[in-house]
């Protein structure tokens, strides 16, 4: 297992000018790590749809890498997205799953059938161009350069610990998402 915070630090070193759509727990931690927040889209407005937004961005901006940080609980809300992504086959999209097998924010309830199926196997059968299932931080460190250099769509499942927290997640105030999108638009217009 690798800590998601440490995994995100590794990813950040390879991020370059990729757009990052960051959902759930990884999204909250990414805000403390990202060195290019203008190209970040923290995703809280509709659970499960981070990868769909990432697909739209990847198709709109084929010259720009797009990375999605998804949770396993989020992905199972929108599993069809895997087929939609593969059907459109954007080579610039990398879909990371932080698999902790629980709904962390809501108190640690299990994701349905958690631990008894493989997201990587689902991704392989769906037809992602490249699929990785990584258990240890060193595996991610050794693989990130390859992940970022090859054409996708790429699926990366990161095994992270099941950490339960009781502190309620405080959502940003309404309207902030629009400001983030304005900032992202400006960053895409003026690289």
């Amino acid at each position: 297992m690798m800590e998601s915070f440490e995994a995100l630090k590794v990813i950040s070193r390879h991020r370059g000018r990729a757009i990052v759509v960051a959902a759930t727990t990884a999204g909250r931690e990414w805000g403390q790590i990202s060195t290019n927040p203008d190209l970040d889209l923290p995703w809280i407005v509709s659970m499960g749809k981070a990868s769909s937004v990432g697909l739209g961005l990847a198709l709109a901006r084929p010259e720009t890498k797009v990375m999605v940080f998804d949770g396993d609980g989020s992905l199972v809300m929108n599993l069809g997205t895997m087929l939609t992504i593969v059907n459109m086959a954007p080579p610039n999209l990398t879909h990371f799953i932080f698999e902790n097998r629980i709904y962390r924010t809501t108190g640690g309830q299990p994701v349905p059938n958690a631990g008894r199926f493989s997201f990587a196997a689902l991704a392989r059968d769906a037809g992602y161009a490249h699929v990785y299932e990584l258990e240890e931080l060193k595996d991610l460190e050794n693989t990130m350069e390859t992940i970022m250099s090859q054409g996708g769509p790429t699926f990366v499942c990161l095994k992270v610990p099941s950490i339960t927290e009781r502190t309620p997640f405080r959502y940003p105030p309404l309207g902030q998402t629009s400001e983030i999108i304005s900032r992202l638009n400006a960053a895409l217009r003026d690289p």
């Binding site: 759509v21 889209l41 407005v45 509709s46 659970m47 499960g48 749809k49 769909s52 937004v53 990432g54 697909l55 739209g56 961005l57 990847a58 198709l59 709109a60 901006r61 929108n78 069809g80 997205t81 087929l83 939609t84 059907n87 459109m88 309404l174 998402t177 629009s178 999108i181 992202l184 638009n185 895409l188």
Partner: protein
């Protein structure tokens, strides 16, 4: 021809959609719209994105819009109900200018409806404050351009309810 003589042809509605300059059509098939999907798929300037469930469509449209493209969402009104959280959080919450064309399942051309897909449709759009237009004939397809313009002027989703099956 339909009961009251009105007609909605796929060529006419396709022409109107093309006027709006859409770059992508995000769609999920419904039985009444097949001719339109086929026609749009033949348009060289339009990329078709087929989704597995309608809520995906709104999120993909958002990503495309924020990336500088001009998407249209096209599915049946039953899918509007399914995509409620995406419409709430993404389309309305982020002030997304988006035209959504829905096949109006249940619509009885003004007569009492028996299908809840039709009965609930307009009351829900009104409750959510979403502007909508009903298109039932070739004479009314200009509402598509009107709705598109309004979506962009107001930065809100606008819905077109298509009340008849398209004819060749």
């Amino acid at each position: 021809m339909t009961a009251n003589g009105a007609q909605l042809t796929d060529a006419r509605i396709l022409d109107e959609i093309k006027k709006c300059g859409f770059t992508h059509v995000i769609w999920l098939p419904d039985a009444g719209s097949n001719l339109l999907y086929e026609g749009l798929g033949r348009e060289p300037g339009i990329t078709m994105i087929q989704v597995c469930r309608e809520g995906e469509a709104i999120a993909i449209a958002a990503g495309l819009t924020w990336g500088g493209k001009n998407p249209l969402v096209l599915h049946q009104n039953t899918g509007f109900f399914e995509s409620g959280d995406s419409i709430r959080g993404i389309a309305m919450g982020t002030k997304l200018p988006l035209l959504i064309i829905l096949g109006y399942r249940g619509w009885k051309w003004g007569a009492p409806m028996t299908d809840t897909a039709g009965i609930f449709m307009e009351p829900i759009l009104k409750a959510w404050g979403i502007q909508y237009y009903l298109v039932e004939s070739d004479d009314e397809v200009e509402k598509i351009s009107l709705g598109y313009k309004e979506a962009h002027e107001t930065s809100k989703p606008v819905v077109i309810l298509v009340g008849r099956e398209y004819r060749p």
